[in-house]
């Protein structure tokens, strides 16, 4: 079905779900155009466009159906991981950072995050370790100083500290 077709289908499902949700929007009486009007118009438009996309994806993948296989699954998976592995790792680390912020507080979470991400992105050599730690520490502390102390912009507090 091709990527486009897949995305188109996904969007159609999304529209369907949203439309189902939109039936719960309470419309105040005596109003000609209630709060559900605009979202439903938008949903209709999106669904139409998504359908076009899905169809286009279908047609495109049909015309490319004769392409030869690109290698067996393990090697393809390996190549994919090589390319996107770091991205996934970075996003995962970021997610963990955001989740930990309200628990551990800004200082600790930021220190852990900056250190961990540098590690994941390639700062592995033993001699770069003190540098990485210094960067982590400096980033954490300087942002804390500038934002919380100087600019009086408050940063997340943890449960413990």
């Amino acid at each position: 079905m091709g990527r486009d077709g897949f995305v188109g289908l996904l969007l159609l499902l999304l529209c369907a779900w949203f439309y189902w949700q939109s039936r719960e929007i309470q419309s105040p009486p005596f109003v000609p155009l209630g709060p559900a009007f605009y979202p439903q118009v938008v949903l209709g438009l999106l669904a139409f466009l998504a359908l076009l996309l899905a169809l286009r994806g279908l047609i495109k993948s049909r015309s490319q159906a004769g392409r030869s296989a690109q290698g067996d699954l393990p090697s393809r998976a390996g190549a994919w991981l090589g390319r996107y592995g770091r991205v996934l790792l970075s996003l995962g680390t970021l997610g963990a950072y955001v989740a930990l912020l309200p628990l551990l507080g800004y200082l600790l979470s930021t220190f852990l995050f900056t250190g961990a991400l540098q590690w994941f992105l390639g700062s592995r050599a033993l001699r770069t370790l003190p540098f990485s730690l210094a960067v982590a520490g400096a980033t954490t502390y300087s942002t804390y100083l500038v934002f919380e102390v100087y600019l009086k912009v408050f940063l997340p507090r943890g449960v413990f500290f």
């Binding site: 996309l53 912009v153 408050f154």
Partner: protein, 510 residues
């Protein structure tokens, strides 16, 4: 008006404003020079620092970031052959060869002075244009606003490089995102799933930060190879040059300068299209208009003058649209819009007349920043350029931390950070699947206003034909159809293999 201008200049020259503008320009210079860090990202990172400032100071700083950033990109473009920002791509075409031929200083300084001259030239249309358009927009009724926003979305979608259909989908998806929350007219909750946070809807700044920060950054992470660090500036590069001679070189090409400035201005006014398109188009046009087109690409000043004057003029153009209509001329002005909202200022045509001090302050900052940028580059170019050697694995975590702080600091709610994360992932996925980001952001920014104006128009007069029969509204809608048709036509031509100028949009922006 003159005394307003004078007083705005004095307020920008106030020590605290002046200093933070200097900081903004420096940040812009460094961020602009760093390949992989766009001006949009830099201004996103500077944004939280402006929360504690008064609006004039905050916006003057951001204008500084913008101006500094457009200049910063040319340095790495000329010296390393790598554009620091997408708006310096075409600068590499002639800047790098010139540097390689043994004239790095001349290349860099032609760029810097051309940036100054182009920017200053565009300053007058900026002030005049913003004021005139704002006055015009005061006459708009809801029909006109609705049609204007539709025109904006259709322009942006039809300029999508890869697929107009995907551009439209991105835009409409952005509209859908804004439908989540309370409806803007009656406050009835929509799609909130009973959650208190969703009831307030998604604030657009964390979405912007996520989409432009994370998507760009993850794209860079993808390309990271183990053991690869950024190329350092070649040691012993002599940047000395006779400034008078360089300026003379530029002034000897007045048509090139003027034409490129106009191109930059025009592209700036076009919503969501930015410096990256301006510099390529200006280069292309300069080459076509030149008497010696074959010399382009070998290291002649014409190319550098064209690209650098146009990308600075683009700032002026983007500011016009933002200040007159509240529509972002590009991603950077989108962040500025966010800053205005945070400071309690409602963008839109009333902005210039209601907050005259801030508006004039921005005009003054625009001019002064150009001069300051040249000054800073004169003093500290080599020093600042050492920062380019910082590798991505160190830079990325720092950038992300600043994004997180920026999202949190908006109103001290963790949910905003989750919004940032969520839309960061969505933004990255969108880029991977070939969807442009510009229409999404515009949809998110304009969504509420589109709905409000639509409903208001219909409730005032249920005659739908008014959208077409009212002259301004009708012509705006007609323009939408025309731009849409042009876009389809261009796309068809492109499919047939003929070379058309791709216009890279916000997702590869600045």
């Amino acid at each position: 008006m003159l005394d307003l201008f004078v007083s705005s200049v004095t307020s920008v020259l106030r020590p605290d404003v002046f200093l933070s503008m200097l900081g903004g320009i420096t940040a812009g210079l460094i961020g602009g020079a760093l390949p992989g860090v766009t001006i949009t990202m830099t201004i996103i990172l500077v944004l939280p620092f402006t929360f504690g400032m008064d609006p004039l100071q905050g916006l003057a700083t951001m204008v500084g970031v913008y101006v500094g950033g457009e200049s910063g990109g040319l340095v790495t473009a000329c010296l390393l052959g790598i554009p620091g920002t997408p708006s310096a791509i075409a600068t590499t075409f002639d800047g790098f060869p010139m540097a390689r031929k043994g004239e790095p200083g001349r290349a860099v300084w032609i760029g810097i002075w051309a940036s100054l001259l182009g920017g200053l030239l565009a300053g007058v249309p900026l002030v005049v244009g913003a004021m005139t358009l704002a006055t015009l927009a005061l006459k708009f009724g809801p029909w006109e606003f609705f049609s204007l926003f539709i025109l904006t979305l259709s322009i942006v979608a039809s300029l999508s490089e890869k697929s107009i259909l995907k551009g439209l989908i991105a835009g409409v998806f952005g509209l859908l995102v804004t439908a989540i929350g309370s409806d803007p007219i009656m406050g009835v909750p929509r799609f909130t799933l009973g959650s208190d946070f969703l009831r307030g809807g998604f604030p657009f700044l964390p979405i912007l930060i996520g989409v432009f920060g994370i998507a760009q950054l993850m794209g860079d992470v993808e390309k990271l190879r183990p053991g690869q660090d950024r190329g350092a500036l070649p040691a012993g590069v002599n940047l000395k040059v006779s400034h008078l001679r360089v300026i003379g070189e530029i002034l000897r090409q007045p048509w090139n300068l003027i034409r490129s400035t106009l191109i930059g201005l025009w592209i700036g006014v076009l919503p969501a299209v930015g410096g990256s398109a301006a510099n390529i188009l200006a280069y292309d046009q300069a080459k076509k208009a030149s008497r010696h087109p074959e010399k382009f690409g070998t290291g002649i000043p014409d190319g550098i003058i064209a690209t650098e004057s146009s990308n600075n003029a683009n700032i002026g153009g983007s500011l016009i649209t933002m200040m007159a209509f509240g529509i972002p001329g590009d991603a950077v002005t989108a962040v500025m819009l966010g800053a205005l909202i945070i400071h309690g200022i409602q963008p839109g045509p009333l902005f210039v007349t209601t907050h005259t001090k801030v508006a004039y302050g921005m005009f003054a900052a625009y001019f002064i920043a150009h001069g300051l940028t040249v000054l800073i580059e004169w003093i500290g170019l080599r020093l600042a350029m050492r920062v380019i050697t910082v590798p991505l694995r160190v830079l990325a975590p720092i950038i992300i931390v600043l994004c997180v702080v920026g999202s949190y600091a908006l109103n001290n709610v963790m949910a905003n950070v989750w919004t940032f994360f969520f839309f960061g992932v969505i933004g990255y996925l969108m880029v991977k699947f070939g969807f442009p980001l510009a229409p999404l952001i515009l949809g998110v920014i304009l969504g509420d206003q589109i709905e409000t104006n639509l409903i208001r128009a219909i409730m005032t007069d249920s005659d739908l034909s008014l959208f077409f029969t009212r002259p301004l509204s009708g012509s705006l809608l007609l323009l939408s159809v025309v731009s849409f048709g042009l876009g389809l036509y261009q796309a068809r031509r492109q499919q047939r293999g003929s070379r058309t100028l791709g216009t890279p949009l916000l997702h590869e922006e600045r």
